[in-house]
Symmetry: D2
Subunit: 383 residues, 4 copies
């Protein structure tokens, strides 16, 4: 079995493994438009292989079900009409069993295809599909956590599965000198188009923290009335706080005067020394201002990365998600992957405890709208 | 086994029978706030027996699960906090299996309770619970149809199960003389508080149609640009039509220039002679105006009912849902059943093909907001 | 000068007199869609005479300005496109001066027309136009009060002009026997189409209060936590209270622990013995329930009217605004006056201190959506 | 008279001069929350002098009216409660005349203050107040245009006053070499805090157009179905186009198959060679993509500025509005001027025909949300 096929199979079973603790019922709901049901993630990542690879590289390929293209396309306008994003939680059929049949059908065809030697274009698409599925694994678990959190009885996903109980290994500040630095992906290996285009930036001297902000530090901010004082907040952030009456990180709730948090192991007391998570860019920025610091830019982060311990939280930067100087959008559906989101979002760097093994890179550019908190996000300060 | 217990058991199994064709996945979604998932209906009608009866009449009764009161209360504010109505579709646990266990647990306790002779208060509450469950059976099937209709692949609920393929048995007009008539429920037997209070009304002479409006007649209205001409519509109805771009009854879609309708048997061509359904009060009223007629009042309907063939559609009347002269709201939770909805809704009379056997009465007052169409509604003209 | 012309002139100057205390600035804003600026009322009532009378009865009549039809039509769809209702507050031109020029131009033409003998159709339309303008006088002053109330500095309209400082002249209950009664307008004289169609209704015995509810009585309800206890409220009313956080009648504000109210004389302390006003149907109904009473129906009200002192408040009834048995919508634009609003609104009977002299009748049917409070509304109890 | 006082007086009379063609009515409405009425601009810029200068530097200064602080504060949370931004159009009092009295009162006090020698802090604040008033002059005229555009009769502001009829003076592309460049304000003279902090950036070689995009070029884009093809648009932009059904630049309307535009001179035909304006960032970006080019970054723009003819349009850049490396928010109210808007907005560089003389600088950073179009915006391409 080729290494590629091995990687393919490992990735595919990892998706199924994530769903192993679920009941059929858990695969269905979509309480908010920005998160999708497990059934959809399993189907959509499969559809990606069928649509982008099998339909093009397998002669006389018969699609598993002609409706699935419509149901499980996400946002690829190039590929025709799609079911409405906000209504994924209403689709009860195909059943979960049929979705697993669909996965098997596509896996069998991909495996057959990878028995013979393949050309580089095909290899590239397989690798893209694998990385795409890994992205959806991270979303699957964070979306699921979000859906379960709506249930007032705090259901348990799995014992001893806590994505958010990690501590810092280092302390103090790292100083980086002023100078011209190279940014962006270089070399062999998989990478997304948005990180391509190695280029120079000039950075002034800066310091960046070796540790991420902890729950204890953030509770200090809360106890100093950080959520009640406009002067720490960007204007948009202040509107967000007041309109949504935000008073704590996502999933936190006070019971008998003690902070608790909903986790995939159920409701747990907040551990002060654990690294803070589930905060928006607005909260990250307000905390930094209150602390007399700031968030790093994505360039500062990338330059410092080799000397930092990262990978526990997606770290908000104070960089907007914009194209690199030589960025070009690819033709066709693949071109819709990243480029069209380059306005209104902020860059997050690093990776998180929900990121599949082997998926992270120091040049990786993740991005979300500044209000979102359901990912495993965190804060690293700079000054 | 007492007659009451027999009726109880029959009603309870009827709910389960309705769900027999379902997949687990179908029990979950709630795409709109006005309709609820099957799992919720099954649980809520069970909770009603537990809350209103077992907790009061069974010594040391242990509730099946202390969370269920919170999860499956509908709108009884008297009984404490409730899960938010619009989020019923997010609750994946308890599982469907646990819900059936809950039903069995409550059924066992009710059966035990009904082994011994019971007092009239308890009997009354059991009968209320049975009627309550029957109401939820009708909602279960109409809500389910609505949810399945969101799926672009038109799933099938069950072959040969079509709630909407009925025709008229009679034609022509029935004339009723001017005079004083008695309205409201009288005598023994179950009835809701809103139909109680036998009282007199004076009616002027009127005529009422022996048949309900058919698809063919409504298509005439559509072809006469009925949906495009404001002059047939009430102002509120015209706003509803234009804001929602309504162009046909609910579930209708044109394929190759031929009208089809989503049914519980899948997508079917419209049969011209079948009785029209899934229309709002606004559409009923506009059709009547276009036809040079009007809708009957609920009093006219009740007076004429003995001479009419009714029971295929809930028939919109031009009566607002208001209290009868001697109406009094009962104390406590039971008092929240009907009275508090007496503003902003229109009365529907009769019953429909989705109404459980034995549930209908000529004095029965159903009511919905004038915009709703997902019930099996229809039009009977008067003049 | 004919009596009709005299009445016309008197009515027209009354509109101008109401605006006498205004600054130009006050003629412009429309903070909410349900209320209109004074400039619009002055123009619209003038346009009504031009559109319905001058264009039809004056040979070669030249409209004052061809744009005004578009700008000042309210809801008459028969008469072509209209400026959007919610944007009346954005129209700065024509200026207020031009609007008065417009009024003079139309008045001159109407006066000329009324010099010669006129036919009954024309007379009827003139009388309709006068009554229409009287309705807009009442709206002009209540809309203006609403707009001024948005200004945090509580501007003064006019000294010694307080529409809401009246007290009851009588006390106790009036008893009316069961029987058949006649309802609706009969005889000569102006009346709207919605009150036409004298017909019989059967009423059961009832009692109706000789007085209207006072501020003191309503404060009792507030102090008994009436606004905080769902059990007094209709479901729709309870949603309205909680969504809008209603805690008092409209325009009330507490200063140094004492209730005050914004009036056309500025901010004034609440006088306990004054008759309550600016309450919604929901509040009226909740108060009645709390008091162990109910609101009268419009039929009960009309039958009792001759023995009551009415005219200080528009009195909410527990009758929905529906057509009388023989109601027919007139052809053309005049037919849009009343009939198309017959769903979703509640009837108010009587008249108020803002109603122009000579405009009230005991058969008059006013109607508003149950949530509205900016009219001079009040509560009369029944039981 | 000192130079500073001269500049003060000139600026202040310029605001009044802009309002000279207005009727009283035009000072009032605020149809949308992002634009304010002329009365508000005149008052707010005056309040700024009173609040930031007179109250601090004039002993025993009596404010003109104690309510005005509440009414005319814009977003300075440091300075206490404010009237709600969306309700500026409802405030009819103070009258326009009173506002001009207020301006005179403040002008008299500022003039008196500037008779004697002043310290640098005061001088700095006066200059800030002057620049602040200049910013509001630009908004006053663009907001006014927006308000007048709501009137279906297209009112005229002033003959021969057309902000948007300009043509390009140059053609072709300017090439800039790769290298390290300095960015940000340096030296004496007024500047805002957001452009301070001279710092280095590394730029790769690029070309920038010497001309701005014309109406003719944009019509080509429209005729090539640019508004109908998702592939030219950022995802957020495509949502904006479809939700708002955008089909042309703001104020454009087709009459007899010919494009016209609402201007301050009334409705005018589009001149093909005039420079395009009133477009959003989304439209600018889509146009650039369609053309196979891109928008410049704000750094590229600033480096090229000395060799470009700019000043006719605010030019959208593909830079998010973010802090410069050494940016620090000032303490107190002045600190709320710029920094708190640094998320979710895009930078515009240059200036426009509505910018007051002497207000522009090549380091000036203007910023708006990407959807806004009511400013005099334009497109300069880069590649």
């Amino acid at each position: 079995m080729s290494e590629l096929l091995q990687l393919y199979k490992k990735t595919r079973s990892q998706s199924a493994a994530l769903c192993e603790p679920l009941e059929i019922e858990d695969y269905i709901p979509q309480p908010v438009d920005f998160a999708s049901p497990p059934k959809w993630h399993l189907s959509h990542s499969t559809w990606f292989f069928e649509e982008m690879i099998l339909k093009k590289f397998v002669k006389d390929y018969q699609v598993f079900n002609p409706h699935f293209g419509f149901l499980f396309n996400s946002y690829y306008q190039t590929l025709g009409e799609r079911a409405i994003r906000t209504e994924r939680g209403t689709i009860t059929r195909p059943t979960v069993k049929e979705v697993y049949d669909y996965r098997k059908y596509v896996d069998d065809h991909i495996s057959a295809l990878l028995q013979s030697p393949i050309n580089p274009t095909l290899e590239e698409l397989i690798v893209l599909g694998i990385n795409h599925e890994q992205q959806h694994q991270e979303l699957l678990i964070t979306d699921l956590k979000h859906t379960l959190s709506y249930n007032p009885i705090y259901p348990l996903y799995k014992e001893n599965f806590n994505l958010t109980a990690q501590q810092n290994s280092e302390k103090g500040w790292l100083k980086i000198d002023e100078g011209i630095y190279s940014i962006g992906f270089e070399g062999e290996g998989f990478h997304f188009d948005n990180e391509k285009g190695r280029h120079q930036v000039f950075l002034h001297e800066f310091e960046i923290s070796k540790s991420l902000v902890t729950n204890a530090e953030f509770i200090e901010f809360m106890e100093a009335c950080g959520y009640e004082n406009f002067k720490f907040w960007l204007d948009e952030g202040w509107n967000w706080v007041t309109e949504n009456q935000v008073k704590s990180p996502l999933y936190w709730t006070k019971i008998d005067d003690k902070w608790h948090s909903f986790t995939l192991e159920g409701l747990k007391p907040i551990e002060p020394e654990d690294i803070l998570t589930h905060i928006s860019f607005y909260e990250a920025q307000a905390f930094a201002t209150w602390k007399g610091c700031r968030l790093p830019t994505e360039f500062e982060w990338e330059v410092a990365a080799d000397q930092l311990d990262w990978g526990k939280r997606w770290e908000w930067t104070y960089s907007a998600y914009l194209p690199y100087p030589k960025f070009k959008i690819a033709e066709g559906a693949v071109g819709e992957y990243n480029g069209k989101f380059m306005v209104g979002q902020m860059v997050l760097r690093g990776s998180s405890t929900a990121t599949p093994e082997g998926h992270a890179r120091k040049t990786y550019r993740n991005f979300f709208q500044p209000k979102y908190r359901w990912q495993i996000t965190g804060i690293r300060l700079a000054k």
